[in-house]
């Protein structure tokens, strides 16, 4: 992406467009291959390793990184931090796109995507954690769509519909938070049923809580990260409130993140105590675990704190990126690296280039969609007609 992106309508030949279109082409080819040849044709999945990066990255990580939506919404509408208001729409948009991609990715991963509605309409396996995840994700996607709809409606100039949509903001936000709490934690709970496969350092009866808390961390960091990028590429699209507030946002969210991470590390350590896993820290997996917990989360916590104290925005922005990596790494460890750890290395899973290709393809789609929307809809600026609208009421 580059400055031209904003003025794409003038010249279409830009580095971003070229790379993007190449990726998309490859992606389409792989898509055809996947749906004509089955999972075996594109993935390295096996009977021992049923889940690969399409779950580990696209689902687990995707959902975690899309947590910005509910976190920001909560901050602004529930905790009444109005000064962060301009962060809401970008965050909600990112969340919406994120979840849309997650659902899209699932169509690639499951054997018979056209049956995805079955758990709701045909037969309900309510004892499954996955059922809850599915239900929550489906509902939350709808919620996000509705939360995002005002922007679209403003763009389309449908005043009435827009105002109607705004009316429900509050209840939508509350729904959103509840649903997020449930499925963010349940994604962790998915692994509760396999204590014999997940390495004890990562397996814990508290894993749902770990996932929920780390999703908040991811959400906060992603908002900072994403607003940084937006400023870099779409600053021309930003109105003065947005420009004015974005630094406050970075500082405030950074501070919040630092605090949450501290708590996260605390509960992780207490979890170790609860299962008495201390002796495992000596092993290689123990080392890896420490790298994840302190090398990523610990360091992030420290840097965020320093950044917040010294109002060092540069530091905070870099830390945000680092934290996001930390969360990604955590999800990878749980779902891939520390999973099936007892299998001999010959039976372990390593993604094929095609799996990675599809993941990249989906991410690219997300970026394209994001750019399409922010260059058209009132995301980074406020629609002139509704300037005063939300100031009075809590709606967006």
């Amino acid at each position: 992406m580059s400055q031209e992106a904003t003025t794409a309508n003038r010249s279409f030949i830009t580095p971003f467009n070229i790379i993007a279109s190449i990726i998309v082409l490859i992606g389409l080819f792989l898509t055809v291959r996947r749906f004509s040849g089955g999972l075996g044709a594109v993935t390295n999945l096996s009977d021992n390793n049923a889940w690969g990066i399409w779950i580990g990255f696209d689902l687990l990580t995707g959902v975690a990184l899309a947590a910005g939506g509910y976190v920001t919404a909560a901050a602004v509408y529930i905790f009444g931090m109005k000064k962060y208001h301009s962060a809401v729409r970008p965050a909600v948009l990112t969340g919406f796109l994120g979840y849309a991609l997650v659902v899209l990715a699932l169509h690639y991963d499951v054997g018979r995507p056209w049956r995805l509605p079955y758990p709701f309409v045909v037969q309900q396996g309510t004892t499954s954690v996955l059922f809850e995840v599915a239900a929550c994700v489906a509902l939350y996607l709808t919620v996000l769509f509705l939360e995002f709809s005002p922007a679209a409606l403003e763009w389309l100039g449908l005043k009435r519909a827009r105002n109607l949509a705004v009316k429900f903001t509050l209840v939508l936000v509350v729904f959103g938070i509840i649903l997020s709490t449930l499925h963010q934690s349940s994604l962790g709970a998915l692994f509760l049923i396999a204590p014999s496969k997940l390495h004890p350092l990562w397996y814990s009866s508290f894993i749902p809580i770990y996932f929920f808390v780390s999703s908040i961390i991811a959400g906060l960091s992603m908002v900072i990260f994403e607003s940084t990028l937006s400023y870099r590429f779409f600053s021309s699209k930003m109105d003065e409130t947005h420009l004015k507030e974005k630094d406050d946002i970075a500082l405030g969210f950074g501070k919040a993140a630092a605090y949450v991470i501290a708590g996260y590390i605390a509960i992780q350590i207490m979890g170790l105590g609860a299962d008495n896993d201390w002796h495992l820290l000596g092993s290689l997996y123990g080392l890896w675990y420490l790298v994840e917990l302190f090398g990523f989360f610990g360091v992030s916590c420290l840097l965020y704190a320093i950044g917040a104290r010294e109002k060092n925005l540069k530091l905070i922005r870099w830390t945000a990126a680092w934290t996001v990596l930390g969360v990604i790494m955590n999800r990878f460890n749980v779902s891939l690296i520390a999973f099936n750890w007892q299998l001999p290395s010959s039976d372990r899973y390593f993604p094929s280039w095609m799996e990675i290709g599809i993941s990249v393809f989906l991410v690219t789609l997300g970026l394209i969609a994001f750019r399409f929307i922010v260059t058209r809809m009132p995301i980074l600026y406020e629609h002139p007609d509704y300037r005063d609208a939300h100031r009075a009421k809590g709606g967006s």
Partner: protein
């Protein structure tokens, strides 16, 4: 994004690869001469891990320098102390110093002479993980070895055997009371510092090596003095074996009547058991195989209702306990595990109840009050006679009219009928037990041998067909009964496997079931 992805995935493999390195086998480092020097253990807990000292390594090295044991071991009235450079463990510090000073000194000297030498820094001797794998095998003094020694020493038993006199606190020799060293010399010395009732280990090393060295000094043939000479498996097997070993004579009886001993003798109800001590001597390698405490008769400790000195093991258990190698049944049961027996006996649960006929096999001599034989000699006479009487009763086994061939028509839907060479198999079994006195004695009656296969039914010329008991499988009314197919296959295959009969191969159906002709 997927930079991270790769990193993580790499991490996965990285971790895997590295964690593979954990366990390695060190079989190449197997040695028999590792001595753990924990002399300081006497003075309380050790501060550092004990040193594993490779004795032969050092003796060989000294030999090359034409030095002898005296380099490290002091001798006291002609007997070499097993301790290093000292006779007594005076005190902790003292002992420690002796080791540190001498070992390090010697090692440094040698290395000073630009020769290969031992470690001089703490950690290289005091290692947590041993650098060798002990292949030491215990050395037994079996009958053959005993005979060779007594022959070489011209039956001067006193050269090794002795008793301890409590009053004079001296060792003395008592003829005909010679027992296994282990009766007195236990696993641990009674007193570690003062040498009273020294451990079997210490005693054997002192006397064996001491004597061997002396004999060598007189340049006569002598036993080994190096660790591996006795404790290394290969070298152990090279030790000359005498077979058969002439009987050891020390006034032990040829025959005894095993009966309740002492005042309970009148309480005995079962017939007494005539026991050929003479022939059983040949079956056990040592006396203590049966006489585990001392050479007294079993009955002295194992009374009918158990006694303290017998550790409350009743006579019944002492003679019938299955999991013991000393009891009659236990030992006989072990014999049944040899390849030629296990084919049949493997199927017979060793938890079986001893039925009437089996009991009488041994309990054949009528109780005293019935015989009135009271004198020792009289009893011996009886004991010697009873088996002969018994043989006379049974005479030779009749093995006429054993069907030559049995055709099994099961599974005919898939294969040709199986033609089972019935008599051939029987003859083979007969051959197996040939010349085995134990087997011969217990398979005396006609049909006993048949019951290896025709089990759980009285021996008869025409035993019930297999199918009469073994029907369809998994009958809930008869849970423990295998079905016919299972019974056949288990019996045939099981027996063949256990007896090491290669053909036919168990997994090759057509080995027994001929392909069906179309």
């Amino acid at each position: 994004m997927f930079v991270i992805l790769l990193i993580c995935a790499m991490g996965a493999l990285g971790i895997e690869a590295l964690s593979d390195l954990s366990d390695r086998t060190k079989s190449d480092l197997a040695r028999a001469d590792g001595i753990t020097i924990d002399a300081l253990a006497v003075f309380g807990d050790l501060e550092r891990p004990p040193v594993v000292f490779l004795h032969d390594l050092h003796t060989n090295a000294l030999e090359e320098k034409s030095k002898d044991c005296m380099t490290c071991h002091l001798s006291e009235n002609g007997r070499l102390s097993t301790r290093f450079k000292r006779l007594k463990d005076a005190g902790k510090q003292e002992v420690m110093d002796i080791y540190h000073a001498n070992c390090i000194e010697c090692h440094t000297e040698i290395s000073a002479a630009k020769e290969k030498s031992g470690p001089v820094v703490c950690g290289e001797c005091h290692r947590k993980k041993p650098t060798i794998l002990s292949s030491r095998v215990p050395m037994g003094f079996d009958k053959s070895l005993h005979y060779r020694h007594s022959r070489a020493l011209k039956k001067q038993c006193e050269r090794c055997h002795h008793e301890y006199d409590q009053k004079s606190k001296k060792l003395f020799y008592a003829k005909y009371k010679e027992g296994t060293c282990r009766y007195c010399h236990k696993k641990e010395s009674e007193d570690l510092i003062s040498e009273r009732r020294i451990s079997m280990r210490l005693a054997s090393h002192l006397s064996c090596i001491g004597c061997h060295r002396k004999t060598m000094a007189e340049n006569m043939f002598a036993g080994p003095i190096s660790c591996s000479g006795c404790h290394d498996l290969e070298q152990q097997q090279e030790i000359e074996k005498i077979d058969p070993v002439p009987r050891m004579r020390m006034k032990q009886p040829d025959f005894v009547l095993i009966k309740a001993g002492g005042k309970e003798s009148s309480g005995a109800r079962m017939n007494r058991v005539p026991f050929s001590h003479k022939s059983h001597e040949g079956y056990s390698d040592t006396c203590r195989g049966c006489h585990h405490k001392d050479l007294k008769s079993c009955l002295d400790c194992h009374t009918l209702s158990g006694s303290k000195e017998g550790n409350n093991v009743k006579l019944l258990q002492a003679m019938h306990e299955l999991d013991s190698e000393r009891s009659c049944l236990g030992c006989h049961e072990i014999k049944q595990r040899q390849e030629r027996c296990v084919g049949c006996h493997g199927f017979i649960s060793n938890r079986r109840k001893q039925g009437e006929p089996y009991c009488m096999k041994c309990h054949m001599a009528p109780t005293q009050e019935r015989t009135g034989v009271l004198t020792q000699t009289g009893e011996r006479e009886l004991a010697r006679m009873v088996p002969e009487i018994w043989w006379a009763i049974f005479g030779a086994r009749q093995v006429a009219d054993i069907p030559k061939k049995v055709v099994i028509k099961k599974l005919v839907d898939r294969y040709e009928p199986v033609e089972f060479p019935h008599r051939k198999v029987f003859r083979a079994l007969e051959k197996k037990i040939d010349g085995d006195k134990l087997a011969a004695y217990f398979h005396l009656e006609e049909g006993t041998l048949c019951q290896g296969c025709h089990h759980h039914t009285p021996a008869a010329k025409k035993p019930p067909r297999c199918g009469f008991c073994h029907g369809k499988p998994f009958d809930e009314k008869d849970l423990f009964q295998p079905g016919l197919k299972g019974a056949y296959h288990r019996q045939c295959i099981g027996c063949h496997d256990k007896m090491g009969i290669e053909k036919p191969v168990s997994v090759d159906c057509t080995g027994c079931h001929a392909e069906k002709k179309q």
